[in-house]
């Protein structure tokens, strides 16, 4: 289950853990009627089943916190799970057949008349090139965003995280909840016009779960499919849990019933890819990628840009855009200047530092959406001297967060007192923060056993170098610690990829890691305290890079995770959060917004807390 999960980089992908959303929302909702869903042939699956919640929520999603820019907005598909789907979206036989595209009737398929709606110039910041577009392998949010424009699966989520039919027009779920029968949309076509059948879906799932693609997310999200684990380990000859009943019917059997399985099918690993293309071009097939999504690769100019053309056979109708021109721009400041001089229509969907945002605040094409997002300092709890709680307290008390957010980051960021961002269920306005207090900080330093700041061995603060916000935050912290405590801190800005590796190394072998303190971020996968506390700071969970450990904290979150009474549950989280703040498991710095520049000529795209998204690509134009 854990295999390949360390490199998970996509907020979008993670956000897909929206699967939990209903379950957890249910936890927070004491009326059982709203949380019970009739699935398939009448079997009742309760999302409040704590077993489901726990297995799915202990997802080791390490790496994300390192890779996201503070203001990263989510990719378009699947959207971040900040939306509040209050009831479990309809999953089952009550979804009737929808044939949305009038041209796809009666067997004869003619291509749509696409284009005429202008090109969309949309920068992909923070990378010089994409590692891949292969849905079975994409991890980085930069790649997920691009790949999501090309590929589609059996089902999809809309901008409100509702479940919608995609390649499958409808599906049936067996009474025991373990067998899913998908009816593939008749006349579903690849972008080149040839038909897509159930066998294509079977082959794609088998491929995504194969040993060769272990680096991808398939085994993690789809490991519940019968036989997936053995097939992934190379023990069997194929994926037994997915069978083709007839060209239009695909049957998937699961090891365990799970209401969130349909959501898991919305992730990249379950998207259908053309076997012909993969076999024709081998590893380089993404250079020519097409699928069943709204766009296809026109040209992938490595190190430069991705050019996408509309898919004339898109099942939802004629895409009006003439295409998407997506340049890769390493430095967001360069993309910013490019946008400001008229060279882009959309900028900032991957990275948009607050420092740049301050320059365009208030302009009509600038969008800012609050996000459930923390930037914090983490500590290596397994190494001296930062395993000393009192020293961590001294450092925390010496940080003037108000100055940091208001003057250094200049808007778009709110001071973080606690770990849970405002607006998130469970946010505690009564939390006792470690407020800025230089005198108390010095006292804590003495209590920690150091006569003054100079007595503290030189500490290192690691962060992602070259990103404006982090660079400034690190510099400011360094100077605050020097000024208020006399503690010398060495800054260690690293390239993003190296930094990710170093954090993973810290998680795997903290005693050997050179990292002492690190600036990191965490964006919500889904709006629940569990995602911020139990998944980040509980002893030995995958994301707990710094190995903070407190038995009382563990006990509190373990109970809260399965508590059905919402008041009791939140109270548990409040207590746990207070412990983590007092002991400085994290030193939270600020909660950040997502920033975006979107030219007024672009119609049909919306910027929400989930990021830049649309319900229907056929309606997007830029004229």
């Amino acid at each position: 289950m854990r295999n390949g999960m360390f490199m998970r980089r996509s907020l979008a992908l993670l956000s897909g853990l929206a699967v939990l959303l209903p379950a957890l929302a249910a936890c927070g909702d004491s009326t059982p009627t709203a949380t019970t869903t009739t699935a398939g042939g009448g079997a009742t699956v309760s999302p409040t089943d704590s077993g489901i919640g726990i297995t799915a929520t202990t997802a080791p999603t390490k790496g994300v916190d390192a890779t996201l820019a503070p203001t990263t907005s989510a990719a378009t598909m699947p959207p971040t799970a900040a939306a509040q789907a209050t009831t479990l979206p309809t999953a089952g036989a009550n979804v009737t057949s929808i044939i949305e595209n009038p041209t796809l009737t009666g067997g004869a398929v003619t291509p749509n008349r696409v284009g005429g709606g202008g090109m969309l110039r949309w920068s992909n910041e923070g990378v010089q090139d994409l590692d891949t577009l292969d849905p079975a392998l994409v991890n980085a949010s930069n790649s997920v965003m691009a790949s999501g424009l090309i590929f589609d699966g059996l089902v999809r989520t809309d901008s409100k995280l509702g479940l919608q039919p995609a390649g499958a027009e409808r599906w049936d779920i067996s009474p025991d909840g373990k067998t899913y029968t998908f009816h593939i949309r008749p006349n579903l076509r690849w972008a080149n016009g040839s038909p897509v059948t159930a066998e294509d879906f079977r082959w794609s799932l088998e491929r995504a779960l194969s040993k060769d693609n272990a680096a991808g997310s398939g085994s993690y999200y789809l490991g519940n499919i019968s036989g997936a684990t053995d097939w992934n380990a190379g023990k069997t000859q194929g994926l037994s849990g997915v069978t083709v009943k007839d060209p239009q019917t695909l049957v998937i059997t699961l090891d365990k019933a799970g209401v969130y399985f349909l959501y898991q099918l919305t992730f990249t690993a379950a998207e259908v890819v053309p076997r012909k293309l993969v076999e024709q071009y081998g590893k380089n097939w993404p250079d020519h990628a097409y699928g069943t999504g709204p766009f296809q690769v026109k040209e992938w100019r490595h190190n430069e840009r991705l050019l996408l053309a509309p898919n004339p056979y898109y099942y939802r109708g004629a895409v009006q855009l003439d295409g998407i021109d997506m340049p890769f721009v390493q430095d967001p400041a360069t993309a910013f200047n490019l946008y400001r001089s008229g060279g882009l229509d959309v900028m900032g969907s991957q990275q948009f530092p607050n420092t740049l945002a301050a320059q365009v605040a208030g302009q009509p094409d600038f969008r800012q959406e609050p996000q459930f997002f923390d930037a914090y300092v983490g500590f290596n709890n397994k190494k001296s001297p930062l395993n000393n709680v009192k020293l961590r307290r001294a450092l925390a008390l010496a940080v003037d967060k108000k100055t940091l957010t208001e003057r250094v980051l200049g808007g778009g960021a709110v001071t973080a007192n606690g770990i849970l961002p405002p607006g998130l269920p469970g946010f505690n306005p009564n939390l006792k923060p470690l407020a800025f207090d230089p005198t108390a900080a010095k006292a804590a330093l003495v209590a920690a056993g150091f006569k003054d700041g100079a007595a503290v061995p030189k500490l290192t603060l690691s962060y992602t170098g070259g990103q404006a916000d982090f660079e400034k935050v690190a510099t400011t912290l360094q100077q605050m610690w020097k000024q208020n405590l006399g503690v010398s801190v060495q800054l260690q800005g690293e390239e993003q990829a190296r930094y990710n590796n170093d954090l993973t190394a810290l998680a795997n072998a903290p005693d050997k890691s050179p990292i002492e303190m690190y600036i990191s971020v965490w964006g919500a996968d889904y709006p629940d305290p569990q995602n911020f506390l139990s998944q980040q700071l509980r002893t030995d969970v995958g994301n707990n890079n710094g190995h903070y450990s407190n038995a009382q904290f563990d006990q509190l979150v373990d109970l809260a995770d399965v508590e059905r009474d919402v008041t009791k549950r939140m109270d548990g989280y409040h207590q746990a959060e207070q412990i983590a703040i007092d002991e400085v498991g994290w030193l939270p710095l600020y909660h950040s917004s997502g920033n975006l520049l979107l030219r007024g000529t672009v119609k049909g795209l919306v910027y929400t807390a989930q990021g830049l998204t649309t319900d229907d690509w056929t309606g997007v134009t830029n004229k």
Binding site: D129, D131, V329, Q330, L338, R498, A505
Partner: protein, 312 residues
């Protein structure tokens, strides 16, 4: 002549060999285990061994080096660490045309502008035209490329905001995207070429045979084309080789700041990511470019001025 060229070729081959050795040694000396890094520092002996074998890192160092050189001779530069499974040659092939266009464009622009300006300045020596040209060229020669880029980008943003025509400030979306990078890259060598042309032109114009031609009443243009130009431009050939090295350094900055997908940017990127196979390849590629340019310079020089070859 042949002996001279053979000697030059021999030393070029030696340098090439050293280049492969040095880059190889630096890559192996560098702290950190590239395979561990690729695996996110997770301990998985089976996968580790497989990757080690795939990249040939399980062999003893001398064998690795020989394999590397062997591959090099067959045009096989290995696989990138950063983009697993992507051959280094593919990465280079993507960047090369961009850098070539940029470099040749800059070389061409700096010559086309620099030479005539140098000649004009020499002909109007100490006049107002000379003063303007000399000052301008000195400015272009001295201003660091990254400062010039800042200046131009600011100018461009200002123009755009005033709804005046402006140029793209990054990327390669349209043909006009080439204008700023080529200009910036050309700027210093333009100043340099103009300076060299001016001084050697002044020297040539002071020679006896020019004075004789003048006294015979030939017009300046005729003297220039018949006698002066060829001799005056000879020193420019010596600049050609160094110019390429110069353009390479310039390309690092220009390609990075304009976000151009050339070899310079690829190199910076691969150094940042410690992608040693790509670092080695770009180093050798750039080294070969400089060596070739030097060889061509020597060749041209020996053609135009056979004395050099005889002495050489």
């Amino acid at each position: 002549m042949r002996g001279f060229l053979l000697r030059r070729l021999g030393s070029a081959l030696f340098v090439l060999f050293s280049l492969t050795l040095l880059t190889f040694v630096i890559a192996r000396l560098a702290p950190g285990d590239p395979i561990m890094q690729m695996m996110g520092n997770r301990r998985d002996p089976v996968r580790y061994a497989a990757l080690q074998q795939q990249y040939g890192l399980d062999q003893p160092l001398p064998v690795q080096y020989l394999q590397y050189v062997g591959g090099l001779l067959h045009g096989d530069l290995g696989m990138s660490f950063q983009y697993p499974g992507r051959p280094v040659t593919t990465i280079l092939a993507a960047g090369l045309p961009v850098s070539l266009k940029l470099g040749l464009g800059a070389l061409l622009l700096s010559t086309i502008v620099g030479v005539p300006l140098g000649i004009i300045a020499a002909l109007r020596r100490n006049g107002p035209a000379d003063r303007v040209i000399t000052t301008l060229m000195l400015g272009l020669f001295s201003i660091p490329s990254f400062v010039l880029i800042g200046l131009l980008v600011w100018l461009d943003l200002t123009l755009y905001k005033a709804h005046w025509p402006s140029l793209p400030v990054a990327g390669l979306q349209q043909p006009a995207s080439w204008v700023l990078p080529i200009f910036v890259l050309a700027a210093s060598s333009m100043g340099y070429i103009a300076r060299i042309t001016r001084s050697s032109m002044i020297e040539v114009l002071g020679q006896d045979y020019i004075r004789t031609a003048r006294s015979k009443g030939l017009s300046a243009a005729v003297i220039l084309t018949r006698h002066g130009l060829r001799n005056a431009l000879l020193p420019l050939l010596t600049v050609l080789g160094p110019s390429v090295a110069f353009l390479v350094t310039g390309a690092f900055v220009v390609e990075k700041l304009f976000n151009l997908p050339g070899i310079g940017n690829t190199t910076i990127q691969s150094i940042g990511q410690r992608d040693y196979p790509v670092i080695q390849a770009t180093t050798i590629l750039l080294g070969v470019a400089v060596l070739m340019m030097n060889l061509i310079t020597d060749l041209l020089y020996s053609v135009f001025d056979p004395r050099i070859a005889r002495q050489g």
